[in-house]
Symmetry: C2
Subunit: 235 residues, 2 copies
Amino acid sequence: MKKLLIASSSSVHGKGYLEYILPELAEFFKGVNEILFIPYARPGGITHEAYTEVARKGFESIDIRIKGIHEYSNPMDAVNQAKGIFIGGGNTFLLVKQLYDLKLLSTIKNVVENGTPYFGTSAGSNICGLTMQNTNDMPIIYPPSFDTFGFVNFNLNCHYLDPDPTSTHMGETRETRINEYHTLNKTAVLGLREGSWLHIKKGKIILKGSLNARLFQQNKPALELPPNTDLSFLT
Amino acid sequence: MKKLLIASSSSVHGKGYLEYILPELAEFFKGVNEILFIPYARPGGITHEAYTEVARKGFESIDIRIKGIHEYSNPMDAVNQAKGIFIGGGNTFLLVKQLYDLKLLSTIKNVVENGTPYFGTSAGSNICGLTMQNTNDMPIIYPPSFDTFGFVNFNLNCHYLDPDPTSTHMGETRETRINEYHTLNKTAVLGLREGSWLHIKKGKIILKGSLNARLFQQNKPALELPPNTDLSFLT
């Protein structure tokens, strides 16, 4: 049975890395003393080593060790042996390209479907949807496909931002972009605001955190869903 | 000899469609009484007909007729016969996919290299760079490649936005995204603010409008370039 935490972001304004979600992480990874970290999304282009160090410090206070996948000679073995997996944020195009190039997409999908607990933030959460097509990231590299894990039967837009009514900028709002997506695609999209996450366990997909999420479905008005909504009706 | 106007956006705050750039368009298209409009980027998902009507109204006051490429039975012939070409904004992924699917990329490139004047806004400007990899758009469809016209020897980031120092949002700034691009790619990127455009003529690439543009080069600090800078040093 799948066990996932799919978080919009690793940080919220004014708090340290993962700080807002630490109590949930401690509970979620209870009994797991080491997690495999996958740093491929490289936020700001930082190295795998530097990014893994960030993750290590984030998990220190809940006594969970972090090992970076780049520390293993065979990344596929690392995934198969992992007691828990954390994929951090950064650039989704780069992350997906790496996962395809190293043939890790199906390997990770397989272990998570079989019960290895998975925690994702931002880019690491985008890829939990059917495709990465609702990322906000810049296409800095060309991946062989936009198809991703499909741990949920919809797509995710992380760092969801409401339109700013005072803005004079003429670029598209997030809502406009997602509506453009729905002129070509049927997959529902969940706009997950910073500080929100999904907890997937025993077949339920529960919205956690204190904020609503915004659900976009083709040819329907967008819906505001309050915390504790079970999104398994979308599957 | 190439003749292009590459505009950051079709509109600026408080003005109508193309209004801010009409005097320049009248001058640029002097002697041309009909322009081929390519509506494939479909902003907000509008139809080719509706989008062409928007362009038609935009050009009405300077007495230039607009014909939509979808009104022709053979789009390649339409490009080859065009006296001028305008590609409007919308979603760059969709625009590029359509241009590849209809085998129009090389056809348009060829006529523009041979002197057909080209006007682009937003997505229609992104594709004037070597690749579309600095678009802000959502990847709502998978194009066969990110390579684009290469009318200039760098890439463009349209609707360039400066970081907002008061923001509490944790998503990446535009500058962070472009810097991530430069951890993997060498191509220079020009951040073109709304209301700015490039005028390419007689081998010169002149920044027009009242604002600076921001130039990002790999391993160099970003540069603010004032109006009337000639960017042909990048070629």
